[in-house]
Subunit: 190 residues, 2 copies
């Protein structure tokens, strides 16, 4: 009964790559079928709709971020250390699935039934993030600037990692996360 679900997974995997290159709307079921070496109609033996593929890509990633943030939030760490963990979380997830991150970033607006759910997760994530920064300012760990500018600046970099990680396979995730944390937290001024 499709317990390993290989064929469906292959389709989603192939779709993820195509969506990254052209975006969800520009990829047709015939494009996807050709990339899979089959006819468009045959895809429907494995998936129910194009929408469902997008949902499978985006929602699982969004939930992974939510779980990661929950763990970091609860952990007994300094604010700076929590920021380090957030950087690691993004590097880890993006390294495992860089193409999927493209859809998460650029195609979320084409979620239909799951759009509100996704937006809720995203808002919660950002609220948790900014709360960590505010705590760091209160505890004198972080410089007293606009906390949203700080979050925006860090999160923009982390959200763009998917564009960059595939080009840099020689760098290992731990080293990249450390390098990024240093730049983001301590700046680049000597």
């Amino acid at each position: 009964m499709n317990t390993e679900g290989t064929r469906r997974d292959e389709i989603i995997h192939t779709a993820t790559k195509l969506f990254k290159e052209k975006g969800y709307s520009a990829v047709t079921m015939r494009d996807l079928a050709t990339a899979m070496g089959m006819k468009a109609a045959s895809l429907y033996n494995h998936i129910n709709s194009k929408q469902e593929i997008l949902k499978a890509i985006i929602i699982s990633l969004a939930e992974e971020f939510t779980q990661g943030m929950d763990a970091i939030k609860k952990s007994d760490q300094t604010a700076i250390e929590k920021l380090n963990l957030i950087v690691e979380l993004h590097v880890d997830i993006t390294t495992k699935n860089p193409y999927g991150m493209a859809s998460l970033n650029n195609d979320w607006m084409h979620l239909e039934a799951q759009l509100d759910y996704y937006l809720g997760l995203r808002e919660r994530y950002e609220q948790d993030f900014v709360a960590i920064i505010k705590n760091g300012i209160s505890s004198n760990e972080i410089v007293d600037t606009n906390p949203e500018v700080v979050m925006f600046s860090i999160l923009s970099t982390l959200r763009s990692l998917y564009l960059w990680i595939p080009k840099k396979e020689e760098i290992n995730p731990k080293a990249l996360a450390q390098n990024l944390s240093d730049v983001l937290i301590y700046g680049i001024n000597k």
Copy 2:
């Protein structure tokens, strides 16, 4: 002889907003016509194709960045000061046309005839950027880390500004640029 070109400009302006919300591929000429209060066929009295609209949005912005970078490159400033000017360049252009920046970031792959030209401009921009960072490392102004990580981290933030600026109309461009420069260059550690 259409010297002010108002109608065409209005169409491009409206298209820019729609492209930002749904992406180029998901916006139909009928969507655009409805937003303009006319029928799809009527658009063609003013523009030649959907492609042409995308080109008008993206290429002019890309050229503005190129010109800005050329001026900064030639200027007689320290590396850190040049980075400040780059931040200002992005904040200025994005403040003037935040919606267009969405297309520049997300829809450039749907340029057809102009794709190579665009990619050339982008590559040149990034080369100039990384050269400034390398000079700053050589001159001992900038900490000796991977220059591409530094560029990537700054550029990601600047490229994402379009998502953020429209929500923050109370902040003036100069102040935002200063705030961003501080965070990006000096970090957030106290």
